[in-house]
Each structure stands twice: as structure tokens, then as C-alpha cells.
């Protein structure tokens, strides 16, 4: 107790509320400072090739003379992998969410939620490793491909990775639908699957879309799994089965080898900033979607 005597009530004039507010504001500042800092470090890049040239250029060779800085190929690769993953995960994820929200007996639902948690928690490097050790080999052997890495491979693994997000976000969207619709449908003698497909999904449409957007953001920011599976080539991806090097993989590959303060280093930060802004805008979009949903149903 004597240790605490120093900190008696009188030495505290700060109310807890104010104190917590200060800290919470610091969190906001952290995000801002991150954005500002990334912008400052990458500042010169936005002048020399210019934003347009940087985003649409397809040649990346920052060590050449003159340096070529264009991340168009990486942006495309990122979009391919993330979109592919969302497209693959959507049907499975939605069906899972419906199952959890409507059909699963409670013991099974109790079991599935931790399963989702664990799936979310499995590190991306483990997914990447398994994908590279199992999937890539399988593709090489089965389809007689020259080398098994491809954007499609990365998408497949990302599918498993974003599935939990889609499921939990969709499930909460489905659960947000007021009870009265359910009761009405039951009273009308509509079968459960019909009710699910014709009433529930249309009502929760915005929430479900929001879930997909969130998953898309997650998939675009994923690093390790993609680094190990996408093949890392500088070619403009022309199809889902070509190889590519998503933004996150580019940064992970080259950050360690770029000289601090060089143009290469700055352009990596610019690439990071692009990725960050992209994911942030997706997130904001998601928030906006959710607000929209609240307006549509569930008004008390």
C-alpha cells in the first residue's frame, strides 16, 4: 500500500474522461501523422514522374538511368488478386453467413464462430507457405504449367483468408433485419429458403455489399501470402492466370534493399501511400454503406 500512497487522489486533478479523450485524440493524430509522414517521404516522386505517370506507368526500374517509376503493373496485379479473391469468396461466404444466421443449430453455430476466429488468426505467412508448398506444386503437376505461381493462386489463398471477414460481416448484416419481416413471412406460410432468398437477402443487400467491400480492402493489403504466390514478375497482367507483383509484394521485396533517401526509397513510399489511400477509401466507402443501411431498415 505504501507505494500507492504517493498517488493519492489529490495528486490527480485530471478527470478520467478528459484524460481518455486526450489519448483517443492521440490515436487520431497517429493516423494523420502516418499519412503526412508517408506523403513527406515520397514527396519528390509526385513531381518527377508526376502522379499520373507514376500510377499509369508500366515500367519499374528505379535503379536505371534515368529511373523508370511506374507502378501501373503492380496496381493491376493488386486489383486482379483482390477482386479474384472476393469473387471466389462471395458465394461461399454468403452461404456460410446465411447458414450461421438462419439454419445452423445453436451448437454448430457455437462451434463455427471460434473456427472463423482461428481462420482469421492464422498468420498470412502460414497461408502463403501452405499455398506455395501445396497449391503451386499441384498446379504445376496437374496443368503442366511452366511454373505454378500466378495471380489466380494468390487469389485462391486470399479467398480462404477473407472468407471469415465476409462471413462475420454478412452475418451481422443479416441479423440486423428486424424480426417483423420474419414473423410476417412465417405467418404467410413461406418456406424458409424462399424467405431467405427473396426477403432476407434483398433487405440486407447493402450490409452484404459492405461486407464484400471490407473483404476487398483486406485482400488488397495482404502481403506475405501474395508475395509467396503471385510470381513477382513485372509483366502487365493480361489474365487471371498470368503472374504479377502486387503493390504489397513490391514493397516487401524492395524496401530492405533500397538506400534511405534515394529515389527508389521514395518511390516505394509513394507506392505504400497509394496502397494506403486505396484501402482507406475502401474503408470509408464501407462506413458510408453501413450508414446507408441503417436508414433503410431497422428504424425503431
Amino acid at each position: 500500500m505504501s507505494d500507492y500512497a504517493v498517488l493519492n487522489k489529490k495528486s490527480f486533478h485530471l478527470s478520467t474522461g478528459t484524460f481518455c479523450l486526450v489519448i483517443a485524440c492521440c490515436a487520431t493524430l497517429l493516423l494523420l501523422s502516418l499519412l503526412v509522414y508517408m506523403t513527406l517521404v515520397s514527396w519528390p516522386v509526385w513531381f518527377s514522374p508526376g502522379p499520373w505517370g507514376f500510377l499509369t506507368g508500366t515500367d519499374w526500374n528505379p535503379l536505371a538511368a534515368p529511373p523508370q517509376l511506374g507502378i501501373g503493373t503492380m496496381i493491376l496485379s493488386t486489383l486482379w488478386t483482390a477482386l479474384g479473391a472476393v469473387i471466389l469468396a462471395t458465394p461461399i461466404g454468403l452461404c456460410c453467413a446465411i447458414f450461421l444466421a438462419e439454419y445452423a443449430p445453436s451448437w454448430l453455430a457455437q462451434l463455427l464462430r471460434p473456427v472463423l476466429n482461428v481462420l482469421t488468426g492464422i498468420p498470412s505467412v502460414v497461408y502463403g507457405f501452405l499455398g506455395a508448398a501445396v497449391l503451386v506444386k499441384y498446379f504445376e503437376i496437374t496443368f503442366n504449367m511452366a511454373s505454378g505461381e500466378s495471380l489466380f493462386c494468390a487469389s485462391l489463398v486470399l479467398t480462404v483468408m477473407v472468407l471469415p471477414y465476409i462471413v462475420s460481416a454478412s452475418e451481422s448484416a443479416l441479423r440486423a433485419i428486424p424480426l417483423k419481416y420474419r414473423q410476417t413471412s412465417l405467418a404467410l406460410g413461406v418456406s424458409k429458403p424462399y424467405f431467405t432468398l427473396r426477403v432476407l437477402i434483398p433487405l440486407a443487400r447493402n450490409g452484404l455489399l459492405g461486407a464484400l467491400i471490407l473483404a476487398f480492402g483486406r485482400a488488397s493489403g495482404e502481403t506475405m501470402a501474395v508475395l509467396m504466390l503471385a510470381g513477382n514478375t513485372m509483366v502487365l497482367p493480361s489474365s487471371w492466370f498470368s503472374k504479377g507483383e502486387p503493390l504489397s509484394a513490391l514493397i516487401a521485396l524492395e524496401l530492405g534493399t533500397s538506400e534511405v533517401g534515394s529515389l527508389h526509397y521514395q518511390s516505394l513510399f509513394a507506392a505504400g501511400l497509394v496502397l494506403l489511400l486505396f484501402v482507406l477509401s475502401i474503408n470509408l466507402f464501407f462506413t458510408w454503406f453501413r450508414r446507408d443501411r441503417r436508414n433503410e431498415v431497422g428504424k425503431p
Binding site: 478527470s15 478520467t16 474522461g17 484524460f19 481518455c20 479523450l21 489519448i23 483517443a24 485524440c25 490515436a27 487520431t28 497517429l30 502516418l34 509522414y37 508517408m38 517521404v41 452461404c95 456460410c96 446465411i98 447458414f99 445452423a104 463455427l112 471460434p114 473456427v115 472463423l116 476466429n117 482461428v118 481462420l119 488468426g121 492464422i122 498468420p123 498470412s124 505467412v125 502460414v126 502463403g128 507457405f129 508448398a133 472468407l163 418456406s191 424458409k192 429458403p193 424462399y194 431467405t196 432468398l197 488488397s220 493489403g221 502481403t223 506475405m224 509467396m228 504489397s248 514493397i251 516487401a252 524496401l255 530492405g256 513510399f269 505504400g272 484501402v279 475502401i282 474503408n283 462506413t287
Partner: protein, 279 residues
């Protein structure tokens, strides 16, 4: 009518299949990892340093386990207090103000920051600018930035889940807010908050992107100094596999990582159940 019944049955089957698919995927992953990795889980693997030519082909992963634990401890230690304070503010003090909306949105945006960007930021700020070098401290702080939003969200939800009646009773009895918070609400929410912390720990333990640029190296004897680099499990796995050092050891490392995560998850679940029993 017959068709409708068929269709209904068809959809029912689809929904069930989707739900069971999740189980299959998870247990498939775990089972496969265990099947491939259990042979390398010997005592030596846990308690000795990497050896062999190239380094890591034989021996164990003790320094990597140590390094990961240190990283996680630093990250949690740094993030937990600000995280809790923010959560308390959001749940208890903010009400429905503009500030609340802004902070909530920020937290959500932070949760969405790609981990490699956290690594970039950590590298530029901690490693280069502050001159920590590639070190345990830089890695731990980068991870702290990464898990901060997770801690806030779980703690906030835990606090909000505490029954409103307690607050009304407390207020009507004229108890001070701080007393109410520290003696009633926090103890009620503690198990869930701890569960959330554990999940955040698992998250930090498995993150590779932030530490591969700020903290991790291939070989170091032991961790412990804040300004020294460390080995870490996820990075070690990446190196073992990508440099083709040893597939068998890579499976072992992956299994250890996943087991660590499962343990954390199980403890978190146990806390949750504790709460539902105690409530």
C-alpha cells in the same frame, strides 16, 4: 409444388454445405500441417538454436520462439494502455458526439491499414529516423501500431456489452463515474477485454510484414536487448521456405506458430465462457 420443394431442399443443402466447408477448410489446414510437421516437433526443435548448412537446415527454433514472445510482449505493453483508454472514452464518455464518430472512424481506418504499410512507416520512423536500427524495439512498436485498433475495438465492445442497468443504478446512487468504472464496469468487462488482448497477441505473433523490415534477422543467438535484432517465428518460416533451406523444418515452424495461435484462441474462449457463467 414438387419443384418448389426440390428447390428448397437444394438451397438447404447448399447452405449446410457452405457451413460445413468452413470446418473442413480449417481442419484440413490444421490436419495437413500436423501431418507434415509433427515429426519435427522434438524437444531439441523447441530448445535449441538453428544449426546446419545452410543455417536452419538442422537444429531448432528456440531463438525464434523467444524473439516472437518478446516482440508480442513489447507490442501489447505499448498498445494496451492507450488502447484501453480510447475504448473507455468511446464506451463511457463519448456518448453520441461528433468526436465519437471521428474517433470510431479513425480506429476503423487504422484497422484497415495494410500491414506492410505499417512496416514501411515503422521502418522510416523507428529504424531510420529515431535510429533504433533493425531492432526488437522498432519491431515491437510497429506491431503495437498494428494491434492498437484491435485492442480498442474488442475492449469497446466488451465495455458496451456490460448491462446498462449497472450504470443507471450507479448514477442514481450518486457514485462517482470513476468509481463506477473501476469497481463495477471494468471488472464486468475484464474477461472479454482479456480475451480481446489474447487475440491481439495472436495477431501480433503471426504478423510478418511489419517485422521483416523492422526487426527480424536470420540468425541471432538470443533475444532480449531492445536495440538488437531478433529472430521471429513467422519470418523464420518465410526464410526457411523461400530460401529452400528445409521444407521439413518449415512445416515444423508453421505448426508451432499455429499451435501458439490455437492456444491463445482457446484461452480467449475460456475467458468468454467464464464471463457468461459469471454474469
Amino acid at each position: 409444388m414438387k419443384l418448389r420443394l426440390m428447390l428448397d431442399f437444394f438451397w438447404l443443402a447448399i447452405f449446410w454445405a457452405a457451413g460445413l466447408l468452413l470446418l473442413v477448410v480449417l481442419f484440413g489446414i490444421l490436419g495437413y500441417l500436423f501431418y507434415q510437421g509433427h515429426t519435427s516437433l522434438t524437444q531439441d526443435f523447441f530448445f535449441s538454436s538453428p544449426r546446419g548448412l545452410p543455417l536452419g537446415a538442422e537444429g531448432g527454433i528456440f531463438p525464434a520462439i523467444q524473439g516472437t514472445l518478446f516482440l508480442v510482449v513489447i507490442a501489447v505493453f505499448t498498445a494496451v494502455l492507450p488502447g484501453l483508454a480510447t475504448a473507455i472514452y468511446l464506451a463511457e464518455y463519448a456518448g453520441k458526439s461528433k468526436v465519437n464518430t471521428v474517433i470510431n472512424l479513425t480506429i476503423q481506418c487504422m484497422a484497415g491499414i495494410p500491414s506492410i504499410v505499417t512496416g514501411l512507416f515503422g521502418y522510416a520512423l523507428f529504424v531510420v529516423k529515431m535510429g533504433f536500427g533493425i531492432s526488437l524495439l522498432a519491431g515491437g512498436l510497429s506491431l503495437a501500431i498494428m494491434i492498437f485498433p484491435v485492442i480498442v475495438v474488442t475492449a469497446r465492445d466488451a465495455l458496451q456489452a456490460v448491462n446498462r442497468d449497472y450504470r443507471w443504478v450507479g448514477i442514481s446512487l450518486g457514485v462517482s463515474r470513476r468509481y463506477l468504472l473501476s469497481r463495477v464496469i471494468l471488472p464486468q468487462a475484464a474477461p472479454s477485454i482479456l480475451g480481446g488482448l489474447l487475440l491481439a497477441m495472436g495477431y501480433a505473433a503471426g504478423a510478418t510484414a511489419p517485422i521483416m523490415v523492422t526487426a527480424a534477422v536470420i540468425a541471432t543467438p538470443s533475444a532480449g536487448n531492445l536495440f538488437e535484432p531478433v529472430m521471429a517465428l513467422p519470418y523464420h518460416l518465410y526464410i526457411l521456405f523461400s530460401q529452400q533451406i528445409s521444407l521439413e523444418k518449415a512445416y515444423g515452424t508453421a505448426l508451432v506458430l499455429v499451435l501458439l495461435l490455437l492456444t491463445l484462441n482457446v484461452i480467449a474462449l475460456w475467458f468468454k465462457n467464464l464471463k457468461s457463467k459469471g454474469a
